[in-house]
């Protein structure tokens, strides 16, 4: 049962009181079930940050249900160039977000449910949460064969991954969040979760690719709405609280003071790309399909910025001075297509008017841009 959010007072007192008072106890005894009214990844991740930072979870765990418009979400210490196809994502308008929990890369769309279990540190128990989800699934479809693995994935029929897990542990609280694939566009999923970038050397945490399947393929009663209701009901039963799903607006500053700033931080280039662990790219390409001249590129990237860059044309198809000029001009810049475009356009204006050289130069710049 969804309750449109009229419990502003509830939240204000939950926020302002670090220790329970009589009023607080009356409002939310034993836990809360929240559902986001937003499908914006940054706003929803901001809700997680806000609850984690501000709410007193002692004897009051929280379940947060949310879904997002098409987005790729990478783990805290991952490398987006290693994990996904940024070019396809740009073409299709699929967002990229970096979450604060660890773990691997996932694709979200409205066919995927995200579940976040907030507790105090001592009550942090991911397996218990997954067992709750399995009970919820079996409550809808008793024949469903879903098991949790040691890696805390949920497998359908022993082989298809329908859920992945990640978590974060803070000062006093912790959260465990996981996905649940109901009816995701798996064509988009498989195209964006494959990195085309070659020659990356990085110690970022890698993802473990898995065979996935939508629950709806097994049983068409397993829609997102049905499953969210079932998980909420199971959570309410387990924590002995009322089965009321409170709908929240992640942009409401009166309920969540400071939340919009958190959402903004999550959208900054510095967070999404700049937090990528130091890495290097060592790759080569032909200038064009017709040309056999191989260009070697070596780039060192730290905090998302180019620390070192070398571009080589071993067969001297391009003058050394031009290549040096290009590589040194990259240093200090963001490893980013749009910033590189600006730089390249400025450099092209200084390029010699020789047509052939100009064409090669243009091709080179485009190729270098495509690795970003």
């Amino acid at each position: 049962m969804l309750i449109p959010f009229s419990m502003k007072n509830c939240f204000q007192s939950l926020y302002s009181l670090k220790i329970p008072t009589a009023g607080y106890k009356n409002i939310a005894k034993g836990g809360l079930i929240l559902q986001s009214a937003s499908n914006n990844i940054y706003q929803n991740l901001a809700v997680e940050d806000w609850i984690h930072d501000h709410m007193n979870l002692e004897s009051k765990p929280i379940l947060f249900l949310w879904r997002n418009s098409p987005t790729v979400v990478i783990g805290r210490h991952q490398n987006p160039w290693q994990e996904c196809n940024l070019n396809i994502m740009r073409e299709k308008g699929i967002k990229l977000a970096r979450r604060r929990s660890g773990g691997g890369t996932v694709y979200h769309d409205m066919g995927n449910i995200n579940l976040t279990f907030f507790t105090i540190k001592s009550k942090y128990n991911r397996m218990e949460n997954l067992k709750l989800i399995i009970r919820a699934l079996n409550a809808v479809q008793p024949q469903l064969d879903v098991q949790a693995t040691d890696r805390l994935d949920l497998l359908l029929d022993g082989q298809f991954k329908i859920s992945g897990t990640a978590s974060k542990i803070g000062r006093v609280a912790a959260y465990h969040h996981c996905t649940l694939l109901c009816n995701t566009d798996w064509i988009s999923l498989s195209s964006v979760l494959k990195s085309p970038y070659q020659g990356i050397k990085s110690n970022a945490t890698p993802s473990v690719p898995s065979l996935v399947k939508n629950l709806l393929e097994n049983d068409d009663t397993l829609t997102c709405e049905v499953l969210m209701e079932s998980v909420a009901a199971e959570y309410a039963a387990y924590h002995k609280i009322e089965n009321n799903i409170i709908l929240i607006s992640p942009t409401d500053e009166t309920v969540f003071p400071g939340i919009n700033k958190k959402a903004e931080e999550l959208q900054t280039w510095e967070w999404i790309y700049g937090k990528t662990p130091k890495f290097s790219i060592n790759t080569s390409f032909n200038l064009s399909e017709q040309s056999y001249s191989e260009i070697k590129v070596y780039v060192d990237i730290k905090n998302g910025r180019i620390e070192d860059c070398k571009i080589d044309a071993p067969d001297h198809s391009l003058p050394l001075e031009m290549l040096d000029k290009l590589s040194t001009s990259f240093i200090g810049n963001k490893f980013c297509q749009s910033e590189t475009s600006v730089l390249i356009n400025a450099l092209l204006r200084t390029c010699p008017k020789d047509y052939e050289l100009n064409t090669k130069w243009h091709l080179l710049c485009q190729k270098v841009k495509s690795i970003m």
């Binding site: 783990g75 805290r76 210490h77 660890g102 773990g103 001592s122 978590s167 542990i169 000062r171 945490t205």
Partner: protein
């Protein structure tokens, strides 16, 4: 369990430090208990006090010997010549599980006591790191980039995280001694 074996070492060491080691008061904030299956165990190569420091204590020296102090968030800091070395305790590395990534700050970062300065990612979770004291980061353990597991294998020695200056050395008095920290762990395990 293995704490018993090291008690004799601790007793010997503590007599050396009797004058120097002022026990820190128990923290005022109470913390939730840890799962019962997590026991504080000595990892291989992790001594209660560095052997070199024990030797130094026997010599007449005006220099303050390196003493390890602990926070209630399971970080340790040991100071020498005004520079503190920070790491996580054996209890913490056991609770974390295998560390797969260490996110550490840049050299020069200024930290206030209890500021978040990085994170350790393990199979269990991404866990925040909190600065035990106020100061400036002077060095980070670059070995952890290639071998984050050092935090598990050698949390008190090779698995150190950062070194920092001490802007306010009296903050050390607010931290727990090793004995106090071990009592603290026992209290949260129960």
């Amino acid at each position: 369990m293995a704490l018993r074996a090291t008690r004799s070492v601790r007793v010997a060491a503590s007599s050396l430090w009797a004058a120097a080691a002022a026990e820190a008061p128990r923290p005022l904030v109470s913390f939730p208990g840890a799962p019962a299956h997590l026991r504080a165990r000595r990892g291989p190569g992790s001594l209660p006090f560095p052997a070199a420091a024990a030797a130094r204590g026997l010599c007449i020296s005006a220099q303050r010997p390196a003493i390890r102090k602990f926070t209630d968030k399971h970080e340790w800091i040991s100071t020498e010549n005004g520079i503190g070395t920070v790491g996580i305790s054996n209890f913490a590395q056991e609770a974390l599980g295998d560390v797969v990534y260490c996110s550490l700050p840049e050299v020069g970062t200024k930290l206030n006591k209890q500021d978040e300065f990085g994170a350790l990612e393990s199979v269990k979770a991404a866990s925040e790191l909190y600065s035990p004291l106020t100061g400036e980061v002077t060095e980070i353990n670059v070995a952890l980039a290639e071998d984050p597991g050092l935090v598990n294998k050698s949390c008190y020695e090779d698995g150190w995280l950062i070194k920092m200056t001490l802007s306010n050395p009296s903050e050390l008095d607010e931290l727990m001694s090793e004995d106090a920290y071990e009592r603290y762990i026992k209290s949260i395990e129960d």
